[in-house]
Amino acid sequence: MRSVIIILLTSALAFTSFNGMAQCKNFAKKICRLELKPYTHDGNYNAAILSEGEDAELFKTFYAGQEYRIAVCGSESLCNVEFQIMDVERTVLYTNKTNGYKPTWDFKVEATQQLIILVKVCERSDTSQEVESGCVAIMFGLKTD
């Protein structure tokens, strides 16, 4: 009987995890991708389930002459999502914190650069509330004309 309960619980949790990833995929496709318009999404999928207070980093090379839009989107359950663009020395070149947590930023690079995108999910000041988790997607748009 005990092993049946364990199997059922494990199956339910595996399904929940899979369902969370599926929701993340839908969030990236149906919500965040739209933020890239009128740029063309590059087709890459970078999304993860993060909890409040957690952060993630993405390393990417940006090419000379190409114009980009970055979109960093957090699902509704999360509070503000901050993103910083840093060079390889970790000097902050841009943060959306000083721009009302705007989810997008448009830029071009004069010389090809390796940049780091640091994404932070804020922590609520009210610690009595349960820590929320949600999907955070980092997507890139390309100017094609």
Binding site: S17, D42, E130
Partner: protein
């Protein structure tokens, strides 16, 4: 119970190969504010490679011409029967598809989309490219923006389905296949390092920066023999790139009246013509091995 479920959900995710690979100890990172906060959690790290669409755009912006002869013929499709070969060539055909589409080669685009669909199906990614995709391409032959959007959507579907099914090593191999194809096309279109197509030469050299991300991405998949075999090839290419010097200046952000910021900087590159030829030869060798 909800908290228990949430906790388990995170634990399950953390035990998945992806999470195991992408988490690093925060103490290894030198972010001052993190150190100040004394955070002891793990941070997720992603390495993003240029997608086939971005690779094709880089080629076009660098002044590359269209040459159908450098593409991998779709007639080679029956050769790809293993997971590794299908994944690499899905990437290769995706870059060929993007390259052909950017130069308005509609028939070639449809041909490469059809070949990509077959490889995706072979990899078990059944819904990434459905039958309507080919029809939509045919209906929009004169609308490049729509075609680019359709291609982007199919890449996103492929990547996200693989991630959802915990098969991200295959997704990484697809991207590397696409990247190798882009490098092959670029080097095939340039005769030598002193060629008039210097912008294209610069973009070829710039790939040294993406190469470090590729190596780190593949190293995350140490339990996947196909990814490790590809890593070995990429490291051979890396040994040639090690002979090329790139000096990167400090970056300055310029916000002028336009809504697009400019990251001002200057790279100084130095490449011996013999090393450039070596790079061409090594790229050719790896790509030949992949297309069989």
């Amino acid at each position: 119970m909800a908290a228990l479920l949430a906790g388990f959900m995170f634990s399950c995710a953390s035990d998945s190969p992806k999470e195991k690979r992408v988490k690093v100890d925060i103490e290894e990172l030198s972010t001052v504010d993190m150190a100040e906060q004394g955070v002891q959690t793990a941070r997720q790290i992603f390495y993003s490679l240029p997608s086939p669409l971005e690779t094709a755009l880089i080629l076009k912006r660098s002044g590359a011409t269209y040459n159908s002869e450098v593409l991998n013929p779709v007639e080679n499709l029956p050769r790809y029967t293993t997971t590794k070969a299908m994944a690499l060539n899905l990437g290769i055909y995706s870059t060929d598809l993007s390259y052909a589409s950017l130069y308005d080669q509609t028939q070639a685009s449809i041909k490469y989309m059809t070949a990509s669909k077959k490889l995706a199906e072979g990899l078990g990614i059944l819904n990434a490219i459905d039958n309507t995709v080919i029809e939509r391409l045919e209906e929009n032959v004169n609308n490049r923006d729509v075609i680019m959007d359709i291609i982007s959507e199919t890449f996103l579907n492929t990547n996200s389905i693989l991630e959802e099914n915990d098969r991200i090593a295959i997704g990484a191999i697809i991207l590397v296949g696409g990247w190798i194809e882009g490098l092959y096309i670029a080097t095939a279109l340039v005769d030598n390092a002193k060629s008039a197509d210097f912008e294209l030469v610069e973009r070829i050299i710039d790939q040294k920066m993406s190469l470090s991300n590729i190596i780190k991405l593949l190293e995350q998949h140490d339990d996947n023999s196909d990814a490790q075999a590809v890593l070995s090839d990429v490291k051979e290419l890396g040994m040639v790139y090690d002979k090329i010097q790139i000096s990167v200046s400090q970056v300055e952000v310029i916000n002028d009246s336009s809504h697009v910021a400019t990251l001002r900087g200057k790279n100084v590159v130095s490449v011996d013509p013999k090393v450039f030829q070596e790079l061409k030869d090594k790229t050719n060798e790896i790509r030949d091995k992949y297309i069989m």
